[in-house]
Symmetry: C2
Subunit: 322 residues, 2 copies
Amino acid sequence: MNNPSEKVAIGIDIGGTAIKGGAVTSSGDVLTQRESPTANGSGLDSVIAQIATMVSSMIESLGLESGHVVGLGVGVPGLVDYRDGRVIDCANLPGWENVQVAKLLGDRTGLRVSIENDANNAALAEAKIGAGRGSESMVLLTLGTGVGSGIVLGGSLWHGSDATAGELGHTIVQPGGRRCTCGQQGCLEVYASASATARRVVEAIQTGAKSVLSERVHRGEPLNSADVVEAAKAGDAEGRQAWDESCRYLSIAAINLQHTLNPACIVLGGGMSAAGEFLLANVNRQCEDMMSSRLASLPDIRLAQLGNDAGFIGAALNAFGI
Amino acid sequence: MNNPSEKVAIGIDIGGTAIKGGAVTSSGDVLTQRESPTANGSGLDSVIAQIATMVSSMIESLGLESGHVVGLGVGVPGLVDYRDGRVIDCANLPGWENVQVAKLLGDRTGLRVSIENDANNAALAEAKIGAGRGSESMVLLTLGTGVGSGIVLGGSLWHGSDATAGELGHTIVQPGGRRCTCGQQGCLEVYASASATARRVVEAIQTGAKSVLSERVHRGEPLNSADVVEAAKAGDAEGRQAWDESCRYLSIAAINLQHTLNPACIVLGGGMSAAGEFLLANVNRQCEDMMSSRLASLPDIRLAQLGNDAGFIGAALNAFGI
């Protein structure tokens, strides 16, 4: 399957519910991959052990010798300082605050370890081998529980002066607006994440609006953005309104990115991007409605191509130093 | 005054009312400078002739030989494509739409000519020898009739994929808000420019609010942001409110820049920055109030240092390829 002389990097994407990993070549080919539920309840040490086992399992299954593995790249769903391999804050992984994860994993695996924010890794992967392939600059927005993001400029991840760049989910798009879990008001992620989209429908129904989703909400069933998409496609007014509003804020984010960075493209990923053209057409239409064509061309907005694999592929590319 | 073997670039900053120029060394020292009212009414050709005269006057007065002048850098208050030296759109200079200004000036002066947006030039100057000296990344906001901006990343101007980056004045900070001259609604520049600040006080007085500035407004006298600052300092409620609101939107812009680019510093220039600490303290306080400290440190916001000379100094540095 693999050319035995070809170098490989191991990429690991740690999520709150699952850990995904793969052995990846420098051109982004995945030679083998793994997935297992995050051993979250048992704390930091057990997750570190779980990753080490996943790494050695892949190396062994491919019959790789140590000289063929250039390193281990890891993505974490939280604030990371890539410079010293430290996880600063990680809401979904208890006990991961201010931990030298690169050192812990390096000691366990004997590999050179690089740590990144998970959305940064996904952005790198989409920019190199996904929707942004061939673009010198690209911004990824991942629309899930929150809005993650990563910025690639001049072909490399842009980290900023304190390694906190690329948190577009917490740009303020509605001054004085809804409170975000981060403490700010009016963040993009409280308006345009998959969760926010579903939450607005639930709130509307709970305060008396009629919708094809009313019964499910009254039974206490949770909704997700796919339910909203289905309702909107069926002509449900509440579903339509919630979806339009999310797309409106995504359009504002895209317009603001165009006026700020003018990236070659903006890529939408995460759960909500499963809506495909239904998402893209709406966001594009609202960009056309709201943006002045005198100052810049409309942003080139695309759907992510790598799905849930973007995180570990980007982690591996990052370990290659790509 | 100048070392005869030292290379010099000529920088020219074209404004709607005045043209400023200087002969500048690669370290940003200004050897001589000129200023004259823009020969605007007489159209493009007369302004080009005026610039050529200013350039040769400086070269002659310094006794420079052609080998010592590395080039001519020009700043234009409008949309520019630096790649082909073309002015695309320039609201304050009639007849400058889609003109190959670099070629026209090159033919006249015999110099290699580079064209930039004026705020980009000012950003480069502030980043190299002004408020951002020593910073690898910096964003300048100039607060005047509009809000100009320039972005320096990795020590160079960031132009984006179509050369339209760095138009932060047209990022949307109030969805569905006031109409901007660009056609969009809710742009930063309709809330936080010097003109916008004064306009809000005028509107409040015209609709019945009492202010120390009421008499002047009722007499039909124009106000500027310095009048608002003076009124606010004197405890005038309308002045205070207009000033606070402008600072609030500047804080939102700074917070969004911090979450997007995390630049080493954000520099405030233009007429409104003459308010000095009165501006800086207000913007910093509102950043502290609004921004989540969990995600990033507060932005490092500074006052511009080069005043009205930033434009031609940056134009010259740009001609050096700095």
